[in-house]
């Protein structure tokens, strides 16, 4: 057989440690794929027996990229358990802290973690700056905005900087990239636009991160969220802080609309053939990189103060199966199970509800072969990530899932932004069910978030100006923490994120988290269902088997966060309490 087994380890431009192995046939088509996380830290074991109020800061260290999202989920789990509803100011501040994370994180993901899968840096040296300027205006028009950079001189300056860099020296972080690979579709001018925006985005993201720091104290790892509210009283009372937030948001929004969106239209159009090629897929639907096509969102960003799981959300919750947007199913948290058949943990073999799972590490290692490589033992266990299931099925989570669920539910705001994208790009809705679609959905969501944050910051300023400066809801810790349980189920930039906590006598009895990349990066389950990454790779044609460009393009489109995915185990399984989700908070 002419089949070939490729190892990609490390997968770079992600958070954490990830390995992918793919089997390609004689036509260089991927026929099998395995995703494996190669790091384990045991975060939940560390949370046990601590004061529940202290877990948020620790949970945040699950990930330094989606920084602040685990923090808030953990705090919310405690608030749910204590039945505490936070004041309006606190809700708005948290929305702004998380919203700032979304726009920052999505932007950094697109340019610094993903763009080089579409943009050939070296080819940009051959571009004509005059034509580049015209091209840049053209894509901004498609997006319906003013181009962020449109002067030929600006593109020329970047090109000269790049030329010098390429001609004379070592390439640093661009060294040994896949430059010249056949599956780069952009013209030299389009590549130069990409490189120019890549560099500018490094600058823009610093300022976007400041928005989180204004109300969070710092970024990464903000520090102002506490059980019951937020601590940044002086920052919300100071009009200058609000003003700074607004001006940073405005500046960032100009880049999002004038560069990020146009670039996504450009890439979407230039890679439309791949994105609509239903032959190159696992299910025969959607396009390259589509994968399992089941999408789930827990919903997030509370729009009113009715408290836990009653408030209306910016992103609605729901499930869409098989890319069929005519039907949306409600999320029932009791239907979530986890399977360890192929994960490095002891297990009974059958999928278990995460709250009763007894998980003890059982590392069976890699298989060293004569070629000096170590391969995953794919017939047995091969990852530190468990395989979560919803109602026995694999799910994909993330911006695409949020946009698809919102669209299918007819959410006004989401339908408008998604509809706008499809109309302007002239692409069919099926384009969303692909690698490119995942990337486009993230950009659509970024614009939506940037726009809605303006409303929130004004609402906050107005509320404070009206004389409401409360930021914290009082509770009697000794009373409420005797025996309770709660869930923080919402959305991280990368998708559905849940933290569950059981509390007894003021201490954490059990802590569980199921994070976005667990859903997406998980291995097969005992019935052999592929994980979202794995399925997304099947059917993809690799133009050069020595260069795994198409593989990383698809993997990056999920925005992997592997340190997140791996902590979701408890090494000390014996004492795990039985935990059920409070029916009041079921979706």
């Amino acid at each position: 057989m002419a089949k070939k087994h490729i190892i990609v380890d490390p997968i770079t431009r992600i958070e954490g440690h990830l390995r992918v192995e793919a089997v390609i046939d004689e036509n260089n088509k991927i026929v099998d794929a395995y995703a494996s996380s190669t790091m384990f830290r045991g975060m939940e074991t560390i949370m046990k027996d601590r004061d529940p109020r202290d877990c948020g800061l620790m949970a945040m260290r699950i990930c330094g990229v989606c920084t602040g999202t685990h923090y808030q989920r953990s705090i919310e789990a405690v608030e749910d358990a204590f039945n505490v509803t936070i004041p309006k100011n606190a809700r708005l501040v948290r929305n702004l802290i998380q919203g700032a994370l979304y726009v920052h994180d999505h932007l950094v993901h697109f340019y610094h973690l993903h763009a080089l899968d579409f943009v050939d840096v070296i080819a940009a040296t051959k571009a004509d700056p005059e034509l580049t300027a015209k091209e840049s205006v053209k894509w901004a028009e498609v997006a319906g905005h003013k181009p962020y950079i449109s002067a030929a001189a600006d593109f020329k300056a970047v090109q000269e900087r790049l030329l010098k860099f390429v001609k004379e020296g070592r390439l640093g972080i661009f060294g040994n990239g896949y430059w010249g690979n056949n599956s780069y579709n952009l013209t030299p001018e389009q590549n130069l636009i990409g490189v120019t925006h890549y560099l500018k985005a490094l600058d823009i993201q610093r300022n976007l991160a400041k928005m989180q720091a204004i109300f969070g104290g710092k970024n990464p790892h903000p520090q102002s969220i506490v059980v019951g509210g937020v601590t940044c009283v002086q920052d919300i009372k100071n009009p200058a802080r609000i003003g700074l937030f607004k001006s940073l948001l405005k500046e960032g929004t100009e880049f999002i609309k004038g560069a990020y969106l146009p670039d996504v239209y450009m890439a979407g159009t230039m890679y439309a053939k791949e994105a609509t090629d239903s032959e190159a897929t696992y299910t025969g639907k959607g396009g390259t990189g589509g994968g399992i096509l089941n999408y789930m969102s827990y919903g997030d960003f509370k729009l009113d103060d009715t408290g836990f799981y009653n408030a209306e959300n910016l992103f609605p919750s729901g499930i869409v199966m098989g890319a069929d947007v005519s039907k949306v199913f409600e999320v029932d948290a009791d239907k979530i199970t986890e399977d360890v058949a192929h994960a490095w943990y002891e297990g009974t073999g059958a999928p278990e509800h995460p709250y009763v799972g007894t998980t003890i590490p059982k590392y069976t290692g890699l298989e060293k072969k004569e070629d000096g490589m170590a391969y995953l033992k794919t017939e047995e266990k091969y990852s530190w990530i468990k395989a979560p299931l919803y109602n026995g099925k694999k799910m994909e989570v993330g911006p695409l899932a949020r946009m698809v669920v919102g669209y299918a539910k007819g959410d006004k705001r989401i339908t408008k932004y998604v509809g706008n994208f499809l109309k302007r790009s002239g692409l069919p809705i099926t384009v969303l069910f692909s690698t490119v679609g995942r990337t486009a959905a993230r950009a659509i969501e970024t614009e939506l978030m940037a726009d809605v944050m303006v409303e929130w910051v004004d609402e906050l300023a107005k509320n404070v100006a009206m004389g409401d400066d409360s930021t914290w809801t009082e509770f009697d810790f000794d009373v409420v923490s005797k025996e309770c349980k709660g869930a923080g189920m919402a959305e991280a930039p990368r998708g559905a994120l849940g933290h569950w906590m059981v509390i007894k006598d003021g201490r954490v009895k059990n802590y569980q988290a199921i994070v976005p990349s667990t859903w997406n990066a998980g291995p097969r389950d005992e019935t052999g269902q592929l994980g979202a990454y794995e399925a997304a790779l099947i059917g993809t044609k690799v133009s050069d088997p020595e260069q795994p460009l198409e593989i990383i393009r698809t993997i990056h489109s999920f925005d992997p966060c592997i340190a997140c995915a791996v902590h979701v185990v408890d090494t000390n399984g014996k004492e795990l309490a039985v935990y059920k989700v409070d029916p009041n908070c079921a979706f």
Binding site: I6, I7, V8, D9, P10, R13, I14, E15, H17, T38, F40, R41, M43, T45, I46, D51, R53, D54, L57, M58, R61, I62, G64, V65, T67, V121, A157, R161, K164, E168, G169, R170, G172, I173, F174, N176, Y178, L199, L202, D203, R206, K210, A213, G217, K218, P220, Q223, G229, T231, C232, V233, D235, G365, K368, A374, T471, W472, E474, R507, A563
Partner: protein
């Protein structure tokens, strides 16, 4: 505990790690100036390692004014605790930074320090990675994956043998024979990976709480037996830049110091550069006057909170923590944890997750740190004594007594 309170306070105030000489006298600085001058002249003779455009040119390209650059240089000079006369040397060293190759690896980490690095404002991150340092390898930013990524790393090690600075982010898991973390096609453990790359490094810079002291993976009960770099790498100069994440100004400061002097900066007993960690948060805190006046936030959102009172009683660990946060703050000085009304969690100190990171003063922490901790001592020094300025500080004495045994190894 058997620790004499008076002695503790006294030993703290006289301990090397708690005091920084900001004026060493003319003779010292003249000698240092000459040394730096010589070093820079040496460097000038070398071709830039990456042959990229120099910093000066790039600032002009970016439309930055020369005076902005000089402003940055003088601020950095002050941060490095050098007299103003060193400003031109610092500026020159910045231009020269592209002679320093940097390899950055990630072990048991969350990428928070890489994220912090890309928030760097002086110099800015695009300048750092394209023009200033020669960033040869960084997993979060590297274009190539898999075999091509490994090759890029091998090439860099080969090419810059003995010359590169190895930045390490993340702890080293020692349990399960190191197999809690592996990297690369041959499944090398994080520990072996670190040792291999440390061997040919000029010096190692451990960034963030995990790489320095084990951080979150090493918090009790430390499920993977995680340790910091200095616990496993021997025979190489190591600089620790703790905090969660480390402040990018301190990362740049260390690189700059290396370019300027060819050596590593003066370190405290925990191998932390004194220019950054010679300050106690508490001593430079904007809310210090309220501490001295006995005005505290008693609970979140109260009148005290609305008046920016001291956060000690809601758990601020500024009195026990050494870092320059209260001076440089974060994200271009936009804010910091005390500014935002939360307080310090002591993240640049060893074992802070088990000792400090909670929202109560140590006296009523409501938690037994699983690894022990120093609550008893704190109780003794508790709230009753708080109004006497500086007494909260005594708490640190217990910690530094433990750390004291490393005191002398740390001196460069």
């Amino acid at each position: 505990m058997g620790i004499d309170k008076q002695d503790s306070v006294k030993s703290l105030f006289t301990a090397q790690s708690a005091k920084v000489d900001t004026n060493r006298g003319d003779a010292y600085y003249e000698e240092l100036y000459a040394q730096c001058r010589g070093r820079l002249d040496e460097l000038k003779k070398l071709a830039p390692l990456n042959n990229r455009m120099d910093f000066k040119e790039s600032i002009e390209d970016e439309g930055l004014e020369r005076r902005d650059f000089l402003k940055w240089a003088s601020a950095t000079t002050a941060m490095l605790m050098l007299p103003a006369s060193f400003t031109p040397l610092v500026a020159e060293a910045a231009v020269m930074m592209n002679r320093v190759p940097v390899i950055w690896i990630e072990l048991s980490d969350c990428a928070g320090n890489t994220e912090a690095l890309i928030r760097s404002d002086g110099p800015k991150i695009d300048e750092i990675i394209l023009d200033i340092i020669s960033l040869e390898f960084n997993e979060t930013l590297l274009a190539a994956s898999g075999h091509q990524a490994e090759k890029q790393l091998e090439d860099a090690v080969e090419h810059f043998k003995g010359k590169y600075l190895l930045f390490v982010e993340g702890a080293v898991p020692m349990g399960l024979n190191g197999q809690y973390g592996t990297i690369g096609a041959n499944g090398e453990t994080f520990h072996d990976h670190l040792q291999r790359l440390a061997k040919d490094a000029a010096a190692i810079v451990a960034v963030g709480s995990c790489a320095t002291f084990g951080g979150i993976p090493a918090a009790a009960p430390n499920p993977t037996d995680a340790v910091g770099v200095m616990d496993v790498v021997k025979g190489k100069p190591i600089i620790n830049i703790p905090a969660c994440p480390a402040n990018p100004s301190n990362m740049v400061g260390v690189i700059l110091h290396y370019v300027l002097t060819g050596g590593i900066p003066e370190l405290d007993s925990l191998l932390r550069p004194k220019f950054a960690f010679g300050y106690r948060i508490h001593d430079n805190c904007e809310r210090r006057a309220h501490f001295d006046a006995g005005e505290y936030v008693e609970e979140w959102g109260d009148e005290g909170a609305k008046n920016n009172f001291c956060l000690y009683k809601v758990g601020c660990k500024g009195p026990m923590t050494f870092n320059n946060c209260s001076i440089v703050r974060y994200n271009e000085g936009v804010n910091w944890p005390v500014g935002v009304g939360r307080g310090c969690i002591g993240c640049s100190e060893p074992d802070f997750w088990d000792k400090y990171a909670y929202e109560r003063p140590m006296a009523n922490a409501n938690i037994k740190a699983p690894t022990g901790g120093v609550e008893k001592t704190v109780d003794e020094f508790g709230l009753g004594l708080l109004t006497a300025a500086g007494v909260g500080i005594a708490i640190h004495a217990a910690a530094s007594a433990v750390a004291g045994k490393k005191e002398n190894q740390g001196e460069a």
